[in-house]
């Protein structure tokens, strides 16, 4: 997946919302460095909502904790933007990641939603690729959440019978990656991944779904409930 495939007019247009100016600037430079077009940089919720209305960006990268109350403004703004601008992807960054927040963000529609730890910003390509994925309607869930859910100690569970490879593929699905992206990361063929996905779904008793975004929700819900 590349920028040219997913946008009509070249660069992906992005609004960055973060109350710390230094960090905001850093995010913008990282994104610009890989060819994003940062159309606005804002420092609070209201300015974010206004910028989205003005610029109608492809994607918004926002901190979860911003003025005025410093609690979950970014999350609330994300929900608002989902309703008013369904075509705009939202990437929420947070110092901590909570499964509950992730579920809340994607429970209606996982398309164009990202939820990552702030630390990921320094991961270079991983981060910019995730923003790109969100901008083009994909999903990005922080690996820490997935790790936590997968790593949960369960009594007698189906998950225990998955092979290491199958667990890695399941994690990739939970993070919102497409089969192709999973294949690229694990150095497998897309065909092999597809076969694994089919067998994992059968083993866990999940309904197979062709959509990546619906798959994220199904897998997360499954991991959370188990």
């Amino acid at each position: 997946m590349s920028a040219s495939e997913s946008t009509r007019s070249g660069a992906i247009r992005v609004v960055v919302a973060e109350d710390s100016a230094l960090f905001r600037e850093g995010i913008a430079r990282i994104l610009e460095g890989v060819g994003f077009d940062v159309v606005a940089e804002v420092g609070d919720r209201d300015a974010l909502v206004a910028a989205v209305t003005t610029h109608e960006p492809d994607v918004v990268v926002t901190d979860i904790r911003m003025p005025p109350t410093g609690t979950t403004e970014g999350l609330d703004a994300a929900m608002t933007i989902r309703e008013t601008h369904p075509e705009t992807g939202v990437m929420v960054l947070s110092q901590y990641v909570e499964t509950r927040h992730a579920i809340r963000l994607i429970e209606n529609d996982a398309r164009g939603i990202g939820y990552l730890l702030k630390d990921r910003v320094a991961d270079g390509k991983e981060f910019t690729e995730a923003v790109r994925r969100v901008a083009t309607g994909g999903t990005a869930i922080d690996p820490e959440i997935v790790e936590r859910l997968l790593g949960r100690n369960r009594e007698e569970h189906e998950l225990d019978r998955l092979s290491q490879r199958e667990r890695e593929i399941l994690a990739g699905m939970a993070e919102g990656r497409s089969n192709q992206a999973i294949a690229d990361r694990l150095f497998l063929s897309a065909r092999t991944v597809e076969t694994h996905v089919g067998s994992i779904f059968t083993r866990l008793g999940l309904e197979p779904t062709p959509d990546d975004h619906r798959r994220v929700l199904a897998v997360l819900a499954y991991l959370r409930s188990g």
Partner: protein, 586 residues
């Protein structure tokens, strides 16, 4: 409360009892030795001994049990008079004369007792006049009329009447006629006063009064029947049947009086219950008033308090005028060290039972003093508790602030630094050696960030503030490396301090289980019921956990206690550990 103390022996009572006994002995000797004898042993000759004994015993017991009442004394006097009346068999002229003059004078004492019951004191001038008039008819009918009666003219064998003025039976008859006529309005007045007393009596007195009025009815009935029968000229009053009736009824009179006194005595026993009842924990002053009102049988009883500034409030705390005597009401003030602090305003009729009022006032005084002390202690305790809650709240706020400072400060700075390194690396894409260096730095930064994140989260998880207790516990469980079964209640938010305390209990319990319990699973149960948040954390580990030095649970115990809750650890060796916490949610 002297009226409640034991009676001491009083010469008057001993003297009267001795006198009555002496008269009985003299009479017995008279019966045995009289030259008019031999007297047959019959109810006529023996009956007076029983009647006199009944009066003396009743008087003695009544006085012992109710030393504050004069009824016991009056019963003794009536007994002596009854004995004196029955000294007729004695041949010695002085004693015979006394018997001759005494007549039925004891009946006047019985009448006096009826009006003076239960204290033995008359209530007002009208009653005193009535009783004086009654005694006057008695003196006239018995003593004066008999001074004109010569026993020798009845039977020559009878001893002399030493008080004989002149033998003039018609004068005696005339006096008797006058007294009998006077007896009609006097009796009517008696009945009126008795009815009045009945209507006025407090419920505690009424039961005793009822018993005594039975005595009055019996005594009065005897007199009326005797007088009617005498005026009809029948010989029934000389018959053996009448003698039996008269004797049994006469014995009944002092017994009824004694029973009346004892019923009052039982009212006083009820005071014991009051002391016990008031001694129990009472939360509201209201019930003190109610308890006093019930015990005194006066639902209108008012309890008022004098404040240090001299003003008065009622038991609801409303300012009122200083309590004062008004018609139908009496005020009893309660004092401590000479200072008035409360007053009871009650039905005036309770004056009839001064010792009951004394006792109730004393008990009420104790109860109020006790309540005051308790209120002071409660107030101080409330202050201490409030301060403890503030300390917990302040500690929470401090933790939140540190977390926020870390979040906005160190964490943010480090993230920015990592980001800067990333940018730098992009610029130096071709300098291989620098790139490796930077990657190492980035790795360390990432580790530092992860550690910092856990530290900040441990201080105060933001999800607790944002989403509440249930979400925060779910998040905790998710992070646990043991299987956790959750049973959580509704997600209604609670005050921050309560949520934080509950959260830290669960967090600390989970930490302990992970560190020490060697458990294979944990269950967390949080429920809310009747204003109590209950937390149960159970594991299947080795047990033996205790709240003690070095345990994180000790700090939590203080936190929980500061919020008025409780924390308990059940941890038998090899039996798993159960931690129960209860927190009031209001």
């Amino acid at each position: 409360m002297t009226s409640l103390s034991q009676a001491t022996y009083h010469p008057l009572h001993i003297g009267l009892t001795g006198l009555g006994g002496g008269i009985l002995i003299a009479t017995a000797i008279g019966l045995a030795t009289s030259n008019r004898g031999p007297f047959p042993v019959s109810v006529i000759t023996v009956g007076p001994f029983f009647v006199t004994s009944a009066y003396l015993v009743a008087g003695w017991v009544g006085w012992k049990r109710r030393p504050d009442s004069r009824i016991g004394l009056m019963l003794l006097i009536a007994g002596v008079l009854y004995a004196a009346e029955n000294m007729a068999p004695i041949d010695w002229a002085p004693l015979f004369t006394i018997s001759w003059l005494t007549g039925n004078f004891y009946e006047n004492v019985v009448g006096h007792m009826l009006l003076a019951f239960p204290s033995g004191r008359l209530r007002n001038q009208g009653e005193r006049l009535l009783v004086i008039a009654f005694y006057a008819t008695g003196v006239a009918g018995s003593v004066i009329a008999q001074m004109f009666e010569n026993p020798k003219s009845v039977a020559a064998i009878l001893p002399r009447n030493l008080a004989l003025i002149t033998s003039a039976p018609h004068i005696g008859d005339a006096i008797n006629l006058v007294t009998e006529i006077a007896a009609v309005p006097l009796t009517a007045a008696f009945v009126v006063v008795m009815v009045h007393h009945w209507r006025d009596a407090a419920s505690t007195t009424r039961r005793a009064l009822a018993t005594v009025y039975w005595a009055g009815a019996v005594a009065g009935g005897l007199i009326v029947i005797r007088n009617v029968l005498d005026s009809l000229g029948t010989s029934f009053t000389s018959s053996m049947t009448w003698a039996w009736l008269y004797t049994v009824a006469s014995i009944a009179v002092p017994i009824f009086f004694l029973l009346g006194l004892l019923r009052l005595q039982m009212t006083r026993a009820a005071l014991g219950d009051l002391v016990i009842e008031l001694g129990r924990d009472r939360d509201v002053q209201e019930s003190l008033r109610d308890a006093l009102a019930r015990r005194l049988g006066d639902p209108t009883l008012q309890l008022s308090y004098q404040l240090p500034d001299g003003s008065w409030i009622d038991d609801a705390g409303e300012p009122i005028a200083p309590p004062h005597d008004v018609v139908g009401r009496m005020v009893r003030t309660l004092e401590s060290d000479g200072a008035r602090f409360a007053a009871l305003t009650m039905d005036e009729r309770l004056r009839e039972v001064p010792e009951v009022v004394d006792a109730v006032a004393a008990v009420a005084g104790l109860a109020i003093a006790n309540d005051r002390l308790r209120a002071e202690v409660r107030l101080q305790l409330a202050e201490v508790e409030a301060s403890r809650r503030r300390i917990v709240g302040a500690a929470d706020a401090a933790r939140r602030k540190v977390e926020r400072d870390l979040h906005d400060g160190a964490q943010q700075r480090l993230v920015s630094l990592a980001l800067g390194l990333q940018l730098l690396q992009d610029h130096l894409a071709h300098a291989e050696d620098v790139e490796g260096e930077i990657q190492t730095l980035q790795g360390e930064l990432r580790d530092a960030l992860a550690e910092l994140r856990e530290l900040a989260r441990g201080l105060h998880p933001t999800i607790l503030t944002e989403e509440g207790l249930v979400a925060a516990i779910e998040s905790l469980a998710e992070r646990s490396n043991l299987p956790v079964t959750l049973s959580l209640s509704d997600e209604d938010r609670l005050p921050l301090t309560i949520e934080a305390t509950a959260y830290f209990v669960v967090a600390e319990a989970l930490t302990n289980v992970t560190k020490y319990a060697q458990a294979s699973k944990i269950s967390i149960e949080v429920s809310r019921n009747n204003g109590i948040l209950a937390i149960h954390v159970t594991d299947d580990g080795v047990g033996g956990a205790r709240i003690g030095a070095g345990s994180g649970l000790t700090g939590l115990l203080d936190r929980v206690a500061a919020l008025g809750g409780s924390l308990r650890v059940d941890s038998p060796v090899e039996g798993g550990t159960r931690i129960h916490a209860k927190l009031p949610t209001t």
